[in-house]
């Protein structure tokens, strides 16, 4: 009911139907001018190139039974990640860098099997399949009883999703942005599920996790606002396989105690935008003298292998200030 009242209020905003349709048309026409033919040719080109490559591959004679099995396995794991729109997982699965697991727990007649995990840069993903359960919808919810050492920082760093695939499989994903500043290379991650939709139970797992190889660069550069009140001191960048971690110290004035530093945009050396996956994870915020210092982190998507540097655009929320972009050399 509360939502309905809210909606009723907002639906009172009168929509100028004709003007909105015109605006949509104008937007499409503007886009068509920029990209008139590419959309169709691109779609045609991909299958052509792919089939040419496949014909070449299959006629080359480099096929043997083991390879066929490997090729068959990759789409299955990749499909799990595509169900969650997780491009990191999809690409890692395609490169066979996702660890397959088979840890099963049964509670209240419902089985949960943890079937894959990856730990790339600062991001951990755990996926699982639920058996003997029917969500009667194309999604389901689950509650976590415990992650990691059970402290709030783990729960706050986690995001969850549960979907029912077109094949009727109930699959869940837990993504955790590692909540401490220093990354362990290997760890055992305890996770306990305590409910799946309305079904209560206890599904307990100890999941072995290994960080994929990465490349850490000391940055040592700062971006300071024109009025010198705010600054971001970039410390390190940890370049993983499909994602990267930016660690920095944000400096706020005492008057800006509610300010939040965010990375608004990141581009590579060719000007291509790299997605910002999460920004503003805080490890500590301390008052030091007449300013506030805060250790913070941003996780971004894949930095192209060829990129020599990236450009990072910081932004301060609340004070609404854009800080000058910083060029971060990747020392490749």
């Amino acid at each position: 009911m509360d939502k309905q009242q809210f909606k009723d209020e907002i639906n009172d905003i009168e929509v100028p139907q004709l003007d909105v349709c015109t605006a949509i048309k104008k937007g499409i026409v503007k886009a068509q001018k920029e990209k008139p033919i590419k959309r169709k040719t691109k779609l045609l080109a991909i299958p052509l190139i792919a089939s040419t490559l496949l014909i070449g591959f299959f006629s080359s004679g480099f096929i043997f039974p083991q390879m066929s099995r490997v090729l068959a396995d990759v789409p299955l794991i990749g499909k799990i990640y595509s169900s969650f729109d997780d491009s990191i997982g999809e690409n890692l699965a395609a490169s066979k860098l996702v660890t397959e697991l088979n840890q099963k727990a049964i509670s209240n007649g419902v089985g949960v099997t943890v079937n894959s995990v990856y730990y790339d840069g600062g991001r951990i993903s755990v996926t699982f399949k639920v058996d003997h359960f029917n969500a009667r919808s194309n999604e389901f919810m689950f509650d976590i009883g415990n992650i990691g050492d059970g402290s709030d920082k783990w729960m706050n760093a986690a995001q969850f999703d549960g979907v029912v695939t077109s094949d009727g499989d109930h699959i869940g994903q837990i993504i955790i942005d590692y909540p401490d500043k220093e990354f362990p290379k290997d760890m055992t991650l305890p996770i306990t599920l305590k409910a799946i939709n309305e079904t209560k139970g206890e599904w307990r797992f100890d999941i072995p996790i290994h960080q994929l190889p990465n490349h850490k660069v000391n940055v040592g550069q700062a971006s300071t606002s024109d009025d010198k009140e705010h600054a971001l001191n970039f410390e390190t960048i940890t370049v993983g396989r499909e994602s990267a971690v930016l660690d920095y110290k944000a400096i706020y004035p005492l008057t800006g105690k509610d300010d939040m530093a965010r990375i608004d945009k990141v581009i590579d050396d060719q000007g291509n935008e790299i997605s910002v996956l999460s920004s503003g994870t805080e490890f500590s915020r301390k008052k030091i003298g007449n300013r506030i210092e805060s250790d913070e982190r941003t996780i971004i998507g894949k930095i192209p292998n060829h990129a020599k540097f990236i450009k990072v655009y910081p932004y301060i929320r609340q004070s609404e200030k854009s800080l000058p972009p910083i060029k971060v050399n990747l020392n490749r």
Binding site: V15, A23, G27
Partner: protein, 186 residues
């Protein structure tokens, strides 16, 4: 034709399907834009820019089921971009114009009430605005908002809690009972 079929056709380059698809949500798009920018002209600009960017980046949408969420995300980004560019702040005092310049007709009272809620939303921090709009207006579940905003689910819950508190304070004395009723988490 259902939405998924339209998305698939649009992705194959069918521009009519794309336009039909955007038009399915035109009211929600316009009203959401209006909540951010607070005037017709800017809201129309945000809608136009959203159609433009959505057309150019439709190929990046992997899961057709998420079209609406993806589109709203582009729209909110555009609205925030426009606000930042204009560094525009709608002051509460503007409401008083309606209260002092017009007589106490029913129509005016109705307008003041609506402006109250819309303006209160606009006064919220950008993050709180977004969770409130996505949760209450677009009906997204907490986990979907978390996914969409790239923040943990617990944080979404915290933002909703804080947003409700702020709205309650901003609308003190009004009859916005929805704020006082319990927040049902999905």
């Amino acid at each position: 034709m259902n939405e998924i079929k339209l998305v698939k056709k649009a992705k194959k380059g069918d521009d009519t399907a794309f336009e039909e698809l955007i038009c399915l949500y035109k009211d929600q798009l316009y009203r959401t834009a209006y909540l951010y920018v607070q005037n017709k002209e800017d809201a129309l600009d945000v809608v136009q820019e959203t159609a433009y960017k959505a057309y150019l980046s439709l190929g990046q949408l992997k899961n057709s089921n998420y079209f609406k969420t993806w589109l709203i995300r582009i729209l909110i980004h555009n609205a925030n971009e426009l606000l930042r560019a204009k560094k525009k702040v709608v002051k509460f005092e503007e409401i008083s114009k309606y209260e002092t310049n017009e007589g106490p007709t029913n129509q005016t009272n109705q307008m003041v009430q609506n402006i109250d809620l819309k303006t209160a939303i606009q006064q919220l921090d950008e993050r709180y605005q977004t969770v409130v709009i996505l949760y209450y207006y677009h009906d997204l579940a907490v986990h979907q908002i978390a996914w969409y905003m790239h923040i943990p689910e617990g944080t979404v819950k915290t933002y909703l809690h804080r947003a409700r508190k702020s709205l309650k304070k901003l609308l003190e004395g009004s009859d916005q009972t929805w704020i006082n009723s319990s927040l049902k988490m999905k």
